[in-house]
Subunit: 355 residues, 2 copies
Amino acid sequence: MELHNFNSGPSILPQQVLDQAAAAIHNFNNTGLSILEIGHRTSHFMEVVQEAQETVKRLMGLGDDYEVLFLQGGATMQFMQVPMNLLDENGLAAICDNGVWGNKAVKEANLFGPVKVVADTSDKKHTYLKKDLELPASTTYLHITTNNTVEGTQWHSYPQVNVPLVGDMSSDIFCRPTPFHEFDLIYAGAQKNMGAAGVTLVVVKKSILGKTNRAIPAILNYQKHIDAGSLMNTPPVFAIYVSLLTLRWIEQEGGLAEMEKRNNEKANLLYNTIDELPAFYCPIAKEDRSIMNAVFFLTDPNREADFLVLCKEKGMIGVKGYRTVGGIRVSMYNALPLSSVKAFCELMKSFAEKN
Amino acid sequence: MELHNFNSGPSILPQQVLDQAAAAIHNFNNTGLSILEIGHRTSHFMEVVQEAQETVKRLMGLGDDYEVLFLQGGATMQFMQVPMNLLDENGLAAICDNGVWGNKAVKEANLFGPVKVVADTSDKKHTYLKKDLELPASTTYLHITTNNTVEGTQWHSYPQVNVPLVGDMSSDIFCRPTPFHEFDLIYAGAQKNMGAAGVTLVVVKKSILGKTNRAIPAILNYQKHIDAGSLMNTPPVFAIYVSLLTLRWIEQEGGLAEMEKRNNEKANLLYNTIDELPAFYCPIAKEDRSIMNAVFFLTDPNREADFLVLCKEKGMIGVKGYRTVGGIRVSMYNALPLSSVKAFCELMKSFAEKN
């Protein structure tokens, strides 16, 4: 049976990336050694880090005022690492709480200084984004979650503000051409559009660092990672290599413009199918719908379980909604082929007709 | 040319582990999906975590008063995470500074409370261990580096103290039967004896937690990781799987007693060869020599470069000493076969004869 991998993360990767990753476990770059057995300070691996950094900058169109780091701990680590590096009692973190991840960012920032939630969309179960933001005068930075993996919303243009903008792009990085230069700090767990779990991309504008007096532990200090060329200590070698393979694949396929074309085609097909079928509905405001994660429901909630059984029978993987939201979630990251979305839409139609 | 991988870490892994890891990238456990593409909350992966936790406990002979966690950031993260969780202004961290890694542990602990270096072996360039320790009455815990990867010393029995004992076992974990129960917290980056880079093993006695009033960020809070079954957020899925494969291999080969037999045989052969050949010398006190990392020098330092060239020609990888120590370092982790040490000793003899 053909499988269709709609996992929300870790999620589908290009077949080429999997083949190259497996080959490198046997013999990395003709060294005769496995990628799992090489020293991280060898030229072989330092070239991997350098190429990955350069590719990120090229895809983002950013210059030398930004640094690219490959860290560990995922977005959950960044929820505390960002305020630890940027915030103190003299400033304020303005945060948009548009769901599960923004809410965690709020909780962690509270440990490091004043926080103001400048958008709280819980009144409508986070089915929309509030874009009209008022920032207190003392705001040090504004933090947004560019794509809400759990709730199915996505910022399609970003807040225009005169304070540093921080973006958690874990679930929509590199999904399309993006004005990355509007951000001062971008982070993303790799395990959706950029590779496998185990590495976190952090892109930071150097000029925003060094403004708090807090003593920051070395491993959590962005500046120290920059000074060490992202090789302060043993990095997650294999995860970084898989990210490089995925970044190369994005460029080879045509870059972010091509990713956008594919992602829009998939998302349009799915949302149109949902909107056309009375058996399904998507509660997300149309202008805020995510092209990465479509969250929707069965009009008759009693039929949800049957639909999920059918999905399983037909090889549709990972389509059960997040535990606190319920319903259906279909994740359509860069590597997901259009054919999988077509197959899923056919299944929806068939289910709707039979019931 | 046959390669002999003496890398200090990331380092050699068993061939069986590499084969199984590569196979899982194509098809993990007959799921039809790659290990890189599966959800971390699926039963498939939760079984991986559970088996890895159980195998660690079995190898360590520890009971339910300990918890096993798979975290990120390596020993460098633990240098700050241990004091953040255990230390406050009312206590004191007693730390043995026996080289590069212990020294970093001192620096990070200083950010969280009083620290006393209870052993400083820099007077003799860290070529020995000081075992006669005096702990201040306010000591909260004693921290030792059980094996000094850079300097080539290893604790062969541990300090008997009446305070919690914390061990950085990054470079000698599972090298032999060990009284793990003498420790209250053990941590180890996986990339030597336990797998690939990207995951850190933390084993903690639950009763030592919860004694400071510090607000600890979720991702750095051991108790919260325990409460979440080591799945608080997306873990480094592949790195944990490689650790499981390596743990299984240790048990299949005969467990820690068999590892000790092999490691002693390799270390005895190498140290005897060094001691017998006047062209080489090992400055480490005999009773403190590491069976994992042998650090030694050429009697005539002018010949070191020639020897390293010869090593490279003969496929001896990773034998250049650490940058601040110089000389030669031969790492002999569990997966290194005796045949590699034999080949290296033959090379030493041949070099000594010709010069």
